[in-house]
């Protein structure tokens, strides 16, 4: 793509997204905005591309990090935006009002391609070259400690409820049984099931806040 200025895209922009308007915009308004944005990108309007990055970068980064981990994240985000911009400029986006859907599709394909590549690489490469870097996907000590604390709080929550309720939550979160199956087998209504989950979650949050409060008090004293 000659004459296409990607400097604005390569340099990390401020990714803060303006807080959402609680009332939200209507689908029609949003659609119009996307159409307008697509037109600006097609005309290679720098501000259009900057806005595209500003709106989607956080979300794309969030999605890619969740699916693939933090390794080479910025490169992947950048690649995704390049693909979107190039596709828009080539006129491949037939429904500009579906820009969000298009970006989502591109991101999902990026994830699939990366996983495919990783599987292929593992199959083809027998040994590691000397000096090559292998990413440690384990959590760092701080993250492990935080995760352990969360698990302890969850254990307290599970200990504080009846055996039957514990079984219900175990079926849902550990065994990943669908809600309908659990309700049928445990003789629960949908409302009772939701109530149990929300109480457990509220208790989890409450215990977590208490622990943070104790830690802050200990830190200040």
């Amino acid at each position: 793509m000659s004459g296409f200025n990607t400097e604005g895209l390569s340099a990390p922009l401020e990714t803060s997204v303006t807080p959402a308007d609680p009332s939200g915009s209507s689908p029609e308004t949003a659609g119009t905005h996307w159409v307008d944005l697509v037109e600006r990108i097609k005309t290679q309007d720098q501000s259009g591309m900057e806005e595209l990055y500003k709106v989607f970068s956080r979300g794309v980064r969030f999605y890619l990090c969740r699916q693939l981990g933090p390794q080479d994240l910025e490169d992947k985000v950048h690649d995704t935006f390049l693909i979107v911009v190039q596709a828009v400029c080539r006129g491949e986006l037939r429904e500009p009002e579906r820009l969000m859907g298009f970006v989502r599709t591109v991101v999902r394909r990026q994830v699939a391609a990366h996983i495919d590549q990783a599987v292929h690489t593992r199959r083809q490469q027998v040994g590691l070259e000397t000096g090559s870097v292998v990413v440690d996907l384990n959590r760092n000590p701080e993250q492990s400690a935080i995760q352990q604390q969360h698990e302890q709080i969850a254990q307290r929550v599970l200990h504080s409820i009846s055996k039957r309720d514990r079984e219900i939550l175990t079926r849902f979160y550990l065994l990943e049984q669908p809600q309908e199956q659990i309700c049928e087998q445990m003789n629960l209504t949908e409302t009772q099931f939701r109530l149990l989950k929300s109480r457990a979650k509220a208790r989890f949050g409450e215990l977590g806040k208490r622990r943070l409060g104790r830690r802050a008090a200990a830190h200040c004293s």
Binding site: V17, T18, P19, A20, D21, P22, S23, G24, S25, S26, P27, T29, A30, H33, E51, K54, V55, F56, R58, G59, V60, F62, Y63, M100, G101, V103, R104, V107, R108, Q147, H150, E151, Q152, I153, A154, Q155, V157, L158, H159, R166, L169, T170, Y173, L174, E176, P178, R194, A200, K201, F204
Partner: protein, 219 residues
Amino acid sequence: MWGSVPHLGSGAVMQTRKSGHASDEALEKYAMHSLAEPALAEIEEHLLVCSQCQQQLDEIDTYVSAMRSAAKRLDQEDESRKHYWTHVSRVLTFRRFGWAMAVTALVLGAVAWRIATKPDRVVEPFALVLEASRGSGIQHAPEGRRLALRLDTQGLASFSSYPLEVVDESGHLQYESQVRAEQSGVRASLPVGLHRGTYFIRLYSPSRELLREYGLQID
């Protein structure tokens, strides 16, 4: 323009809050990979542009992960406990009777051993002073008790020791020994108790001449 978050699509099939954000339930389903199209597409598109829902999803991820780990750990602990008690009860059932018999036999054996090795109660011998039987009252002693006798030898020929016999009223010998003479007479100790009846203690000279006879009543 970008201050407002695009509303979830008009064809949204998943739950939303009034503000147009994804509901906690929808986010939880997404976090647990149990959301199907088209709800999946709607929520993913919304998450691309809504930082509030991204943050909420992060919290839900943390919660789901913690609950999963905790439930797994408690489940494993329950299984271990169950397995342990199943094993214990199986072992006890199988050998319970045998162990009970073995323990009972041990206890009885210990009791029997204790009884068998228990020393006799040390009872002091019954002390008596016997004088000449002709004309003097007969002495009494309890049945079964050892007897410590002092025999009066006044008027008798003096020897260093005397043969002594204990006979019953039929003249049958019950006990005999050699007793030493002392200043005040002769002391004799009968190691076994006598049954009820009348007995005579006979004192002889070394040449087996009867010197004196004492009467004794065992009651």
